[in-house]
């Protein structure tokens, strides 16, 4: 059963990587929106790079099969603590997406130098994805902290 701990550590590292990707995508998007001379291509390019990188990495680690039946999923996916934390993380992601809509709406409508409809729509979509992903991974990792073994 040492395998289980090994897969669990791998699982946590994948979650941390997901958080880094989502956060980077969100921050890059905010900087892309506030820079002068903005157009849809500038917004889409970094987002597509992040999304493609995540997809490629996921395929490299888990293969083409969907839903995955990797060793990680078989070992870790059945663990009740993991399942409970994933459910909590999903709720957090959903709530953060709801809560972020109004501030994001004002941000993408008024902050960009050239607030066209296409820029606003693309910015809103990518920032929504980034906020949901960041909330999901951050919540999962926060709840997965282990307390001291007394």
């Amino acid at each position: 059963m040492k395998e289980l701990e090994r897969h669990y550590r791998f699982h946590l590292r994948r979650m941390a990587m997901g958080l880094a990707f989502s956060l980077s995508m969100g921050v890059t998007m905010i900087f892309s929106l506030i820079r002068p001379g903005i157009h849809v291509g500038i917004l889409l390019a970094p987002a597509l790079v992040f999304i493609m990188a995540m997809v490629v990495l996921n395929i490299a680690l888990c293969g083409w099969e969907w839903p995955h039946s990797t060793a990680e999923d078989r070992y870790v996916g059945r663990d009740e603590w993991v399942q409970a934390n994933v459910n909590r993380a999903r709720k957090s992601a959903l709530h953060s997406i709801y809560a972020a809509q109004v501030p994001l709406m004002f941000f993408v409508a008024y902050v960009p130098a050239v607030p066209t409809v296409s820029v606003s729509v693309v910015g809103m979509a990518i920032l929504t994805m980034a906020s949901g992903g960041t909330a999901f991974f951050a919540s999962y990792l926060f709840h997965s902290r282990q307390h001291i073994d007394g």
Partner: protein, 77 residues
């Protein structure tokens, strides 16, 4: 209103058997994080997991887990 919670004596029985959380996790086939969460009262296990833990520690489930009523503070009128 009284709040019903689940108390556990996992830590006590683990100490009696001289097991670490990792050892117990190995025996029950779960992650160490699960054992840690159950011991800390942050997770209530399913019946299946409770049975696995009881089996690993060679005790009955009701020795490991029991209901406890916690009285919440009532405001005086």
């Amino acid at each position: 209103m009284d709040e019903i919670t689940v108390e556990n004596t996992l830590k006590v029985h683990r100490a009696i058997k001289n097991l670490t959380q990792a050892n117990l996790a190995d025996l029950a086939g779960i992650t160490r994080a699960s054992v840690n969460a159950i011991e800390g009262g942050r997770m209530t296990p399913s019946i299946l997991l409770a049975l696995k833990l009881a089996d690993a520690l060679d005790v009955s489930v009701d020795e490991l887990f029991r209901l406890s009523e916690r009285k919440s503070e009532q405001k005086s009128p």
